[in-house]
Amino acid sequence: MAGEISDAIIRVRDITVQFGKTRVLDGLNLDVKRGEILGFVGPSGAGKSVLTRTIIGLVPKIAGSIEVFGVDLDAASAAERRGVERRWGILFQQGALFSSLTVRQNIQFPVREYLKVSQRLLDEIMVAKLGMVGLRPEVADRYPSELSGGMIKRVALARALALDPELVFLDEPTSGLDPIGAGDFDELVRTLQRTLGLTVFMVTHDLDSLYTACDRIAVLGNGKIIAAGSIADMQASQHPWLRQYFHGKRARAVMG
């Protein structure tokens, strides 16, 4: 199991989550180091999104504790919690853009709410963020319903990055992107991590992302972390699911 890491930005201890009678997460422990890109994999329905949503506080847990930026989220006051929320950005699986706001308003929304800056700076930052995620400024006045799936992902990432957070959660960021776009996306995540010192918690199934973008990989199974470590550790693992995952047809294709 992942040992104690002193510089953990997320510290999850003995998390148990249950829906009705099904136990989705069962005494799960996980640490995410500051400045790393953690790839999070596991079979479909294993509870990867549930863990993400539990950490960010959208799913109630029945036991365990979660610390983000050293703040225990259960014990935190409303103000402390807001402080934490301002420092993280979240990319939801479906984008979760506000459908009645334009792209521009979507990206500017968190900035406008948290910082008192001029409209000019808001617009410039919005264009910069759009550029970072590989979109042209012309899409700024479109509504989410007028965007393609890949563009929605990119805009949602731009919104997640709007306030230059220290930590981002990405829920399947490259699904629905073409391979070139997905490659650019990995590159982008890498660049941001290098320049901004970003910590990334990435749920993904994209083997390419795991190979090129992630520093460390954690695998979820049976409600627990069954393995955590570098990609080489994963390949060396004898766990049947991991063997299948990292030595299957697609994995071989990626490794060449």
């Binding site: 506000f98 459908s99 009645s100 521009r104 900035v111 948290y114 910082l115 008192k116 800056v117 001029s118 000019r120 700076l121 617009d123 410039e124 930052i125 264009v127 910069a128 963020k129 550029g131 970072m132 400024p137 700024a140 006045d141 509504y143 989410p144 319903s145 007028e146 990055l161 306030l163 230059d164 660049t191 290098r194 320049t195 901004l196």
Partner: protein
Amino acid sequence: MSGNPTLERIASGNGLALCATGSWTARFAPVLERMVADAEKLGGTRPNIVIDASRVSKLDTFGAWLIERLRRSLTQGGVEAQIAGLSANYSSLVDEVRRVKAEPIVETDRVTIAGMLEQIGRSVAGVGGTLIGLIEMLGAVLAAAGHVLIRPRGFRLTSTIHHLEQVCWRAVPIVVLITFLIGCIISQQGIFHFRKFGADIFVVDMLGVLVLREIGVLLVAIMVAGRSGSAYTAELGSMKMREEIDALRTMGFDPIEVLILPRMLALVLALPILAFLGAMAALYGGGLVAWLYGGVDPEAFLLRLRDAISIDHFIVGIIKAPVMAAVIGIVACVEGLAVQGSAESLGQHTTSSVVKGIFFVIVMDGVFAIFFASIGM
């Protein structure tokens, strides 16, 4: 957390160094923006200016962009400006924002008088469109009904029963309660005023005619428009938003037949039943008040009721119900299918479904009143 950002000016020969320190991050964006705006005024005062970023402890997109913006506006002011002292990591960030083209984006659609007039014109012209849309939907529903008549297997009984439960069975308590109260109020007001003429007993005539002919069905129709019309619009609208209706169509099903016909049928069956129950509840409430408040005992009430009203009154009332149901259903379905991709649009169309539904119900009631008057019913 590192300290507040500053931008010191240090003269060096005939040039100037702007020395940025502290953390240039989003948190300090308002301060940074003011500092940069001040420094931008230096444009033209010196031949060359160096922006020294070597003592910046922390930099993010906001800081990087503001430094880049300062460089640009100084360059525009004819100064040879450059950024120096960036660490390798930060310089790639500045390179990233350097690609930003900062043409000011002009907000479109401003409110003008001409624009407002145009809006009014479009709304008026839109009325015709609405009517055509309703007639189209009526035609489509009738065609689907015809199709189902020829091929009864295509009829969706389960769905119809499900909607019947939603719009009829589950509506009974609230409809009965409200009509009961309305009956009480009409009766109380009637007795209060008729008593001045010693004509207490005529409250029964008023109650009977009013409830059976007009109020009963009209009130129930308005309640159904608010309760079920809005639900239909919201259901169909969110299905439209998630492309479920398109999916249905591509599988070779007609959304009118699958989604709208069962809903329409359920509503057309439900409204007469609810109107009847509502009328009974109103009469009961009115009778109760007449007895307790006006001293008209139940036997006298029933005798008087039998004299005052004929079956015609009841028929006039109940015949209107299915027609009103059809109007409510068609308005709700047209609005539901008109929903665009946003949550706001769903809200607008649900509102307009209820408003239009109630409006058309009242218009229909007027049309019926003229019709029945001219055939002497």
